[in-house]
Symmetry: C2
Subunit: 479 residues, 2 copies
């Protein structure tokens, strides 16, 4: 009998494992007699005691029948479940969620993901790298690891972090909330996943801005929502185009429409709130980058104007700190508070406490604000470098969408259709320049060429160098 | 006009905010004239320029109408959405998920949660506190924070961690898997939440052990599954009691049935796999504490005996390290791999990379195994202290369920019903002793008194001191 010992742990345990493997694989058939202990010991060059111990263990586990001494017989029950007879599994999706997931989401083609082999990439969502922040964060984490309870988390989030979030929201975003209103989540994506659970049955209607962030759209579609796109213009969501059949939920980015860049005007804010009130709709206010603004004071958040408790306000630290943090927050309407906490509990019990404690400390000791000031200054320079550069090389070919906030802008190519845009992106890739179409962010993409250009992760020098390549792409497109 | 300046940032910004607040709150009614700039400047003791700047900002944002100089008028649009007229919101649940959540889950009464005012608690799930581990973890986190990409995570999990998990599973749990099979998740709860998404429509049938871990049961119920309890005995799940109508999913804890403590025998393992194959059911194998065993080698995991790709094997670091870590893993059947990755992506994009990197490092450099060895030794002592103590004071009153693994055991009170058990728990609490009923872990609780006694978080001395109180409770119960 050929037995392969794996060399780990005591010899008798190795032998036990090897015999089991042989039996499960069908190399020892059911009912057949195992080699006598003396014989096997000699064959393997181990002591007879080792073999006896292994046989005893096998007997204890039901792999072997018979008394030691009178022969041991393999009794692996129901051995017909054999290794060599794998039934081909259906690859049908096993739930409606999975079925929609296969239709909607293609993990190999996520919009905006960095393509191999490019030297520069105007990639949306890349964090601004701040070495001082990395150092501060390492220190906060180490400290929090030593002082945070190792036990299960508070489902709603660490009280200290919820307090710090409320303080931040009141000072910088004009949102009044108490720690009881706040739910700590693993980023905006989880905030929407929970909202879908709390608010939406399969087939429920959701109004989304058109264009919209593709990941939110896919999440809602896979959840089973029925989406309606509402156009946006320079004042943000066109409220008069909101659907006449009441949507259960309206997903908006009022501080800085993603990806078009417009800011929802105050009158539209009021109109939207009135619509929501009239239609008993809920509003998901995604304030993903409203912190970074370049020309004026931010407008009041929808949440701060909402007196009906219809707005779910959501913020994230992915843009203000870095995406690997996976922490964000949700300001819950009172009527949904318990439902949100239950939903969070069912999904993962609560977010990781050590990171929450580290973040609460960073916010309390000023490290967060220091980073924000620094990041604001740097992003302003990067935005100026990109805007100035694009304007200088445009020669009337580019239509640069207004963008007074955040870390991206949209550049439309005048008189070019979608296919022209794809050709330009392909050309960029050959030159080592990563460009990204805006089209994946539409429910119903227009036949125009538009680029979503992120600048948060590139230095001014990199932007300027990338623009040299961009200029060549543009010339080729209009040649 | 009474305006409260908040003292943050430039004066004109403070004034702008204060005026907006007054308007939104209805203290300045629509169409009314704002005070002339000179007057307001004098009133507030600020320069006229400050007031002019504030009025201009308000005009730019649409809060004020009229030209500077000819009077400024509050124009807050649609002010009928007034602060003083909040519509009472329906508190009806907004989705089937929320409706079931309200019925099933009571966040204020989570079984096993520590009660205030107790001095000792036989609480399940408390981590073993190891100062050496806390130190090592702080160091790993600080290092990982400095060297991990700040960008969005890999949805499937950091490759280095998936490799470390495969290595661990092969060596210590007998499970063969490649990094492609592994999905990193935020603990077992998320593993089941994703499984529910991937496999279950509302109304689908799920077989669970009876008793079972309450949190999994509630998650499945709130998801909308139709549950059937299958009894367990000293050999684990009674396979001959599996339902005749095929369940889509079977949830089991073969290494150490939770909470009863039995280990699923090998013949039952084979029977269960054959049932799953015959019924095209999926199996969720929750190996939550199989690492800690006290008498024999562990049996082969279901996953290692499964040749049909029907087993979803799930492990967690909550028991081997500590629950605040919020990391676990799922070994996916090939047929479901893409669906699982998509589901994880929709829920939170991926688990936090810094913690994953820290954990991969701890597993690679031996720190994890060092902790396991130490924890095993300590848990063995604690288990012995509890078992010896209970046997010594039982006098035939306790029936201690077999428990050869983990960090808890079950003690039944002979001839006592559920009400007697509640009385004993209440008595314990008056003495400062936390005791926990096993009944919340049943779909259909028996009318017997049983205690789920966790010992992982108590030192031997604490266990002995707690047993003195326990003895008094027991005497009272049988007085």
């Amino acid at each position: 009998m050929h037995l392969l010992l794996d060399g780990r742990g005591p010899l008798h345990a190795q032998l036990t494992r090897a015999l089991k493997t042989a039996m499960v694989a069908g190399r020892v058939s059911q009912g057949s007699r195992l080699p006598p202990t003396r014989l096997l010991a000699r064959e393997l060059g181990v002591s007879r005691n080792t073999v006896l111990t292994a046989y005893e263990q096998l007997r204890a586990e039901g792999f072997v029948d018979g008394r030691i001494g009178s022969g041991s017989y393999a009794t692996l029950p129901l051995l017909t479940v054999a290794a060599n007879d794998p039934q081909p599994l259906t690859s049908q999706p096993q739930s409606n969620f999975s079925r929609r997931g296969r239709i909607v989401h293609d993990h190999a083609r996520i919009p905006g993901r960095r393509v191999d082999g490019v030297r520069y990439a105007f990639q949306y969502g890349m964090p601004l790298v701040n070495p001082a922040l990395a150092t501060a964060w390492a220190r906060e984490l180490a400290h929090a690891a030593a002082y945070t309870s190792p036990n299960y988390p508070y489902t709603q989030g660490l009280p200290a972090l919820r307090e710090a979030v409320c303080d931040y929201l009141a000072r910088r975003r004009g949102v009044q909330a108490t720690p009881d209103d706040v739910l700590i989540v693993n980023g905006t994506q989880q905030a929407m996943a929970l909202t879908a659970r709390v608010l939406l049955n399969e087939g429920d209607r959701v109004a989304v801005e058109e264009p919209q962030y593709f990941a939110m759209r896919e999440l809602l579609q896979i959840h089973g929502a029925h989406l309606t796109g509402v156009p946006v213009d320079a004042e943000g969501l066109c409220c008069d185009a909101l659907p006449s059949r009441s949507p259960q939920l309206i997903y908006v980015t009022p501080s800085h429409q993603f990806p078009s860049g417009s800011v929802l005007s105050l009158s539209r804010r009021m109109e939207l709130l009135q619509y929501a009130r009239h239609n008993q709709s809920w509003i998901f206010e995604d304030d993903y980058d409203g912190e970074f603004r370049y020309d004026s004071q931010p407008l009041a958040a929808l949440r701060s104007l909402d007196h009906d408790g219809r707005v779910i306000y959501v913020g994230t630290f992915s843009k203000t700190l870095f995406p690997a943090l996976r922490l964000g927050y949700l300001v819950m309407p009172a009527a949904l508070r318990q439902d949100f906490i239950t939903a969070k509990w069912t999904q993962d019990f609560g977010s990781a406490p050590i990171e929450q404690a580290a973040l609460a400390s960073l916010m309390a000791n000023g490290g967060f604000e220091r980073h924000l000031r620094r990041a604001s200054k740097i992003l302003r320079e990067r935005r100026a470098a990109l805007l100035d550069g694009l304007r200088a090389l445009s020669a009337g070919r580019l239509e640069i969408a207004d963008s007074r906030a955040g870390m991206h802008l949209v550049a439309w190519l005048r008189d070019k259709n979608a296919a022209d845009g794809e050709a330009m992106i392909a050309h960029g890739q050959r030159l080592g320049l990563g460009l990204h179409s805006i089209r994946p962010h539409y429910l119903d993409p227009p036949d125009r060429a538009g680029l979503l250009m992120g600048y948060g992760g590139m230095s001014v020098t990199e932007i300027q160098e990338a623009l040299v390549l961009f200029s060549r792409c543009l010339d080729a497109a209009y040649a």
